[in-house]
């Protein structure tokens, strides 16, 4: 039996160097005891600082990086057997690299738990260190903190404080080691005692005020607090001395809030409320396109308002000759509050321009003003509006038709055609010829541009694109005859 005594409590590289020598020497885990500088010697121990191996040179295989990562952290655990465990695993990994992935292997379970205990303690150190300010006669400010970690985590945690508090000079003292940052260099020294750090700090009273005020007595969950902020840390947390009183007073404070009914509102509130009531009365009827545009934002004629961002009203000149009516705003239209700005809108713009219709002189809108969708993870999937929604929204489309008074209306897709005609419409039957409407406007029907985007077959898409452009060309020709 050999014993390896390490110089440091938590130096992974030191352990690795020794472990590599043992592996080379073919020393099995059963033949070796590991000790850190704090652990007691065993009864039948033969100390051996230098690893002796009688000329043996066993090849050392590559070790899985996952093991190295776990071991580097677990080495900071206070369990005296940590080095033995690591060497035992290292030995086994030589024969079977796969066991690192066997989450149910008892040694892997133990290693994983150790590693997570160390990480947790390091995390709690980042959380629960409380610096106290020390200002010397020359006005120089320094900070110091006392912390009592369960594991040897100061060395692995101090760089965090360096990254966070580069512009401060600080020291962290623990029973086993201490760390110092002077603004340029991070150094480590011996352990100390609580008396090395000042007992108070001028800002602590403000902090305690905050702690007591941010606590909601109606939500008392003491067990939850204790599981995250274990009682063992409390003695070094200035705010913790308030906890017992806060808990004792919680029921009372909650009851007081519940029992105190509303008092008479202050006078400034009553004055403002009066002014707002007058404003509301002055809201007028819809007598213009602008009124309609404002009013549509409050529309609750169908349930679609509930999940859409906003109503998307039509856009374009108020005296436009041509009005294009699509189905409903899509994802991007809904976010931007403007019609035809998404992918289908781009197809539409390009086609209109190609046939020679001036895009800036047409009015574009939709049969339904709110976006209907189904949430799927981080995406919203378009859903076709139903007949009820289309009928409810006809109110707004009719207002747009009444105020803009277009000579030509182009229904893009079946939903728009159905809304305008008041009956189920089939595009293939209606497209290609003007339809005279009762109000003496002329209706053209064609596909919705989004239909073109959904055709997977390239040749078919080209055919449909050409048909779409033909339909738009008919609109253009008709429009030209009106103006001549």
């Amino acid at each position: 039996m050999r014993t390896v005594i390490l110089q440091s409590l938590n130096d992974f590289d030191e352990w690795r160097g020794q472990a590599r020598e043992l592996l080379r020497g073919g020393v099995s885990p059963e033949e070796v005891i590991w000790r850190d500088p704090k652990s007691e010697p065993g009864l039948f121990e033969q100390t051996e600082q230098e690893i002796q191996h009688a000329g043996k040179n066993h090849p050392v295989g590559a070790v899985p990086p996952a093991f190295m990562a776990l071991a580097r952290t677990a080495v900071c655990h206070s369990d005296p057997e940590r080095f033995d465990l690591l060497y035992r695993l290292l030995w086994r990994l030589q024969a079977d690299r796969g066991i690192i992935e066997v989450a149910s292997h008892p040694d892997i379970v133990r290693l994983t738990r150790m590693e997570s205990a160390v990480r947790r303690e390091s995390h709690k150190m980042k959380a629960f260190i409380r610096f106290k300010s020390i200002v010397d006669d020359s006005g120089l400010e320094r900070f110091a903190a006392w912390f009592e970690p369960d594991h040897y985590v100061l060395e692995m945690t101090a760089p965090f404080f360096e990254r966070r508090f580069t512009g401060m000079m600080w020291a962290i003292v623990t029973p086993y080691s201490s760390a110092y940052w002077d603004g340029e260099t991070l150094a480590f020294g011996d352990g100390g005692t609580k008396a090395d750090v000042p007992p108070d700090d001028a800002v602590e009273e403000d902090w305690k005020t905050y702690f007591a005020s941010i606590f909601n007595p109606a939500r008392l969950k003491v067990a939850m607090m204790k599981s995250e902020m274990a009682v063992k840390y409390w003695r070094n947390l200035p705010e913790a001395e308030l906890i017992p009183a806060l808990i004792r007073g919680a029921k009372e404070a909650e009851q007081a809030m519940i029992e105190r009914t509303a008092s008479q509102p202050p006078s400034h509130h009553l004055k403002r409320a009066e002014r707002q009531a007058i404003d509301k009365e002055q809201q007028s009827e819809i007598t213009s396109l602008a009124d309609a545009r404002a009013a549509v934002q409050g529309c609750q004629r169908c349930p679609l308002y509930e999940h859409a961002t906003q109503a998307v009203f039509g856009e374009g000149p108020e005296n436009a000759d041509i009005m294009f009516v699509g189905e409903q705003p899509g994802d991007q239209e809904d976010l931007a509050g403007k019609p035809f700005v998404g992918p289908a809108g781009k197809v539409f713009d390009a086609a209109v321009e190609k046939v020679g219709i001036d895009r800036s002189r047409v009015y574009v809108t939709n049969a339904v003003k709110h976006f209907k969708f189904e949430p799927r993870g981080k995406k919203r999937i378009h859903r076709r509006p139903d007949a009820g929604e289309v009928t409810a929204c006809k109110f707004w489309l009719n207002l747009e038709r009444a105020f803009v008074k277009p000579k030509v209306i182009v229904a893009l897709g079946a939903t728009a055609a159905t809304s305008i005609l008041g009956k189920t419409a089939t595009i293939s039957k209606l497209r290609g010829a003007p339809i005279a409407m009762e109000d003496r406007t002329v209706l053209f029907v064609t596909n919705h541009p989004s239909y073109l985007l959904r055709i997977p077959d390239r040749n078919l898409a080209a055919v449909e694109q050409a048909k779409f452009e033909q339909d738009l060309a008919l609109v253009r020709d008709h429009w030209h005859t009106l103006n001549n």
Partner: protein, 411 residues
């Protein structure tokens, strides 16, 4: 009126801020103070520097700039008709408190909100001034969360996103009708439009690997929102449907659910009782299942009754008990999607199961080691040496798995 001391203001304005559930400081870019020589860092995962006896994490200095407010939202402690004590910090006071707390390692940063004073633009501009001063005058690299005031001008919003890690706009109520009833001055459409604008700016700020000139930074920790649970009549179905809509539309990092808790000087229109904390907890679990476990809202809600989640058991178990024909699941063969639906198995456990079974078939003992606790898992799985037999369909199964009511533990 005598001037309030800074400490009194701190008491008033943190008391007024405690109804906002969020205290997260995670998910932002990596920063540290070694380049600036100042103070402040952010490293991905957040740190809870303390816990109040309500079990909630304290990671940020969460305060209002002022609790004066021109709005009269019934559920809000700061509504204009309330007689609570009012206070207002100066920009410099907030900056100093943040730095003093930060240097002592009490906090990870600042979460600043405000009552609406004068106008949305004015209020938002004041919040931005605090953030700008921290970043520019003090090289502060810690976390900053700013509340967005709906209807504030786009250029103010752009500057807010330049200094802040996270922005948030509270949707407040699960339904628009609820909001109109309780917050007459707020327009639900305007709140969602504010979120849409933030989403647009977040998309613009996405770094383009190929482009030479990178876009200006905008709120690297994204946006979040909060819904109040139990103030109005909305059921869990309405709440989760609303949340799913918001996640899908505005790329929210988080939706916070805040059990309505009684406030001082409260309106008679509100339920004056203890906050529904268990309901809030179940909603968070359901939210998690929807985002990370492949469940959709109707599935989750089907585990409860009348549009409400089961309060006694967790939503995954509740769902599984109504879908027993889908079980038992073979731990050694089932795909990941199916394993994620087994009660008692989390994402970590599922990953470990998949890694381990590449090496050997799992026995029930192996599963117990991986899952930590096996009671909830056992009736729903098969392993090499275990099959639940009639246990899966046992009509007493629910009663066996239901946690026994725990004695409230105090000191």
């Amino acid at each position: 009126m005598a001037a309030l001391t800074l400490r009194r203001k701190l008491a008033v304005l943190s008391d007024a801020a405690k109804y906002d559930a969020s205290c997260a400081s995670s998910g932002t870019e990596k920063r540290d103070s070694r380049q600036s020589g100042g103070i402040g860092s952010t490293e991905g995962s957040g740190i809870c520097h303390s816990y109040a006896p309500d079990g909630r994490c304290i990671s940020l200095l969460k305060i209002l700039l002022t609790n004066f407010c021109v709005y009269d939202c019934v559920y809000c402690v700061n509504r204009s008709s309330s007689n609570v004590e009012r206070a207002r910090f100066s920009v410099e006071e907030v900056v100093r408190l943040t730095l003093d707390f930060y240097k002592r390692n009490y906090i990870e940063g600042l979460f600043l909100s405000s009552g609406i004073i004068r106008s949305p633009d004015y209020t938002m501009e004041e919040l931005v001034r605090v953030a700008r001063s921290l970043r520019q005058d003090h090289s502060f690299g810690g976390y900053i969360h700013l509340k967005v005031i709906p209807n504030a001008a786009p250029e103010i919003l752009a500057e807010a996103g330049r200094w802040a890690d996270r922005l948030s706009t509270n949707i407040e109520m699960p339904t628009d009708v609820g909001l109109e009833t309780f917050a007459p001055e707020k327009r639900p459409g305007e709140i969602r439009t504010a979120m849409a604008n933030i989403r647009g700016k977040l998309a613009e700020a996405k770094p383009d690997r190929k482009a030479k000139a990178q876009p200006a930074k905008f709120a690297p920790a994204g946006q979040s929102t909060q819904m109040i649970v139990g103030a109005d009549k909305a059921d869990d179905n309405a709440i989760l449907t609303r949340a799913a809509g918001l996640y899908s539309g505005y790329k929210l990092r988080r939706v916070y659910y805040s059990a309505f808790s009684p406030i001082p000087d409260s309106s008679a229109r509100l339920p004056l009782k203890a906050p529904p904390l268990m309901r809030e907890h179940r909603l968070y679990q359901a939210d998690w299942l929807i985002r990370f476990y492949g469940f959709d809202v109707p599935e989750i809600v089907s585990g409860g009754s009348d549009g409400l989640l089961d309060l006694a058991i967790d939503p995954k178990l509740a769902w599984a008990l109504t879908q027993r024909q889908k079980f038992p699941v073979d731990i050694n063969r089932a795909d990941k999607e199916l394993l994620l639906r087994v009660p008692g198995l989390g994402t970590r456990s599922v990953e470990r199961i998949i890694a381990t079974r590449r090496h050997h078939s799992l026995r029930l003992d192996d599963l117990a080691l991986i899952a930590g606790s096996i009671d909830k898992v056992r009736p729903f799985v098969e392993t090499v040496d275990w099959t639940p037999g009639g246990l899966t369909d046992d009509h007493k199964l629910r009663a066996r798995l239901e946690p026994q009511p725990e004695q409230l533990r105090l000191f």
